[in-house]
Assembly symmetry: C2
Homo-oligomer: 133 residues x 2
């Protein structure tokens, strides 16, 4: 009678995935990210297209940068301008992680350990052994 344990790669990978999901799970950030996918690069143009204040764009770009999804680079000639772009390495990592996490083949046809169909009921002895101290 095995006590169930989470098995997805490991909690570290899930933590990393979570960070990426949170970064993308905002309407404005998702649109900004989308624009960067399409090649738009500076704060001001994003503002023109999405009709957002530059400080708000800056805030969201910071969040995307903080998790590594987006890179920033100043213009060589006129350093007032900053060009933002998708970090391809990070994008690939996200794709791999999401692909693994959401892989339909991971779905197990496991019998419930709880309920009438189970060998043992929930309350029985899912807790750890008491004699481990």
């Amino acid at each position: 009678m095995l006590n169930y344990i989470e098995t997805f790669p490991d909690s570290v990978e899930m933590e990393e995935l979570l960070v990426w999901l949170k970064a993308l799970a905002d309407p404005k950030r998702l649109r900004i990210f989308n624009l960067l996918m399409e090649g738009v690069q500076c704060n001001c143009e994003i503002g023109d297209v999405l009709d957002m204040a530059p400080n708000l764009i800056s805030h969201h770009l910071n969040k995307l940068r903080a998790v590594g999804l987006v890179d920033a680079e100043r213009d060589a000639g006129d350093s007032r301008w900053i060009y933002y772009s998708i970090n391809r390495t990070a994008l690939e990592k996200v794709n791999v992680a999401l692909g693994a996490f959401l892989n339909p083949q991971r779905i197990q046809p496991r019998q419930p350990a709880c309920g009438p169909r189970a060998e043992s009921a929930c309350t029985t002895d899912f807790s750890l052994n008491k004699d481990d101290e």
Copy 2:
């Protein structure tokens, strides 16, 4: 001189993607979803594994159900028990949508429309024509 326009499939698809991302972008919900992927099915077992209160699990399962990612089914013999499972159709849709959205090939090597490298500066005439009323 074209004014830039968002092109990802359409705003409807992005809206749908956002809904899924938001559903998954929560630490507890991501772990619950993961357990469901691994075949764990009832509220009580999730509670045992993740050490969470049943009402909180219920709340998160509702969120996952609300966006179609998770199905619920009562035990035929003892209807107090509810078995939760991943909705495979929804999962496939998420995979397709994410795959399309995060496809590295979408990244365009586009020159910025703003800044010194651009033909015209940002402030020039990105706004709509004034004579359209």
